[in-house]
Subunit: 199 residues, 2 copies
DNA sequence: CTGCAATGTGAACGTCCATTCGCTAATGGC
DNA sequence: GCCATTAGCGAATGGACGTTCACATTGCAG
């Protein structure tokens, strides 16, 4: 009585996606091969038809996260050419992304840098870097356009931008969604925007 | 051949402290009763003379973290009465606190909200809240003194302050300490301070 | 239509880990 | 200095989990 068969490429992505959701919902310790298989509608051993190990699934999940982050920055850049507006929209996009976004810090913080697997920390670092670089590029663009203050370091600004999102996400998580992220971000954005825009 | 005996109050604190360091270094998944006992110089079962369960150890660790955070805000308030200076010093204190600070987000993000233990999320929320409240109080004080802009919401500012520290901590962690936290914070503080101080 | 490679199944294995228990050794109040 | 209490030890237990393997089923290529 085997379930529907899927080609390994589709399955792989489906499994990686399920991994992200699972980690986001139950944390890394709730992320077992059994629960993963269950969520995809498979039996645990079937996972090993597509991945050599549980660790490999996590790596694939990280890949997927990176793709999503890139897609987000691309999208806002396509929507508008105004730097301030790009950043504001990117910020708002994060509100909707929180559920899967929670998986990022969870994977980052929970993984142990035990011998041999410390590569994942490097991978994570690269993901964050590439995201920050994209944000910094938006900032640089805004500086050229005269929209943003020219005396600010784009790298600093990009990290500060990340600092708008992150604590909001944490508060949202620990209060079980009771913290009004959108409200806070609107308020914080005003202060932040005021600080970085050209007068 | 039993090791030195310690009174349970001392042991409890010692164990809680060891738990923080262990989580900070190896992550939540590296935090086992065995490794914990090892670090304290005991045998696993001995832990249960002082705590009813592993979860109880984590709760004690959270308690300890809260105490440390409170101590930090107290210290900067004692050092100076200038709101801006208080915040700046609090920020710099975090640089040195990172090692144990890493335990906070790790515990927050990695724990699963499975039935019955979701109280810990509430505890974590309370810790963060109390910290934010203290920061907000510093801000309010600064507004009364005319040091900080009066039109800003102290709650928003306190969360943004947290947003200065957090991403820096993440970057520091994923780059294995290669990211220059102090440098970034000096730069970011300038922008932030500019945004919140009264003109 | 046939057969082989790709997927999926279920049982089994070994490991790790939290926790329990009976015993021993130290400590502190008397 | 004596004894009860407290703290620590080591072995044992039971469950969860990652992974493997032999076998079943599916679906595509020819």
């Amino acid at each position: 009585m085997s379930r529907e068969k899927l080609r390994t490429e589709l399955r792989k992505e489906q499994i990686a996606q399920a991994a992200i959701e699972l980690v986001a919902q139950r944390g890394l310790s709730g992320f077992s091969v059994a629960s993963l298989a269950d969520r995809v509608g498979l039996v645990p051993s079937a996972i090993y038809r597509h991945f050599r190990s549980k660790d490999e699934v996590l790596d694939a999940a990280l890949d997927l996260i990176q793709q999503k982050l890139v897609a987000n920055t691309r999208a806002v850049c396509d929507e508008t050419s105004d730097a301030s507006e790009r950043l504001r929209r990117l910020l708002m996009r994060h509100v909707q992304m929180f559920r899967e976004n929670q998986a990022v810090p969870r994977i980052i913080f929970a993984e142990e840098p035990y011998a041999g697997r410390s590569e994942r920390k490097a991978i994570t670092a690269r993901i964050i870097r590439s995201y920050l670089d994209r944000v910094a590029e938006i900032v640089r663009q805004g500086q050229r356009d005269g929209d943003l203050r020219k005396d600010l370091n784009p790298a600093t600004v990009s990290i500060m931008f990340l600092g708008l999102v992150q604590p909001a996400g944490v508060l949202w998580f620990v209060t079980d969604g009771r913290f009004d992220v959108a409200r806070h971000l609107r308020s914080a954005w005003e202060v932040f925007h005021d600080a970085i825009r050209a007068d």
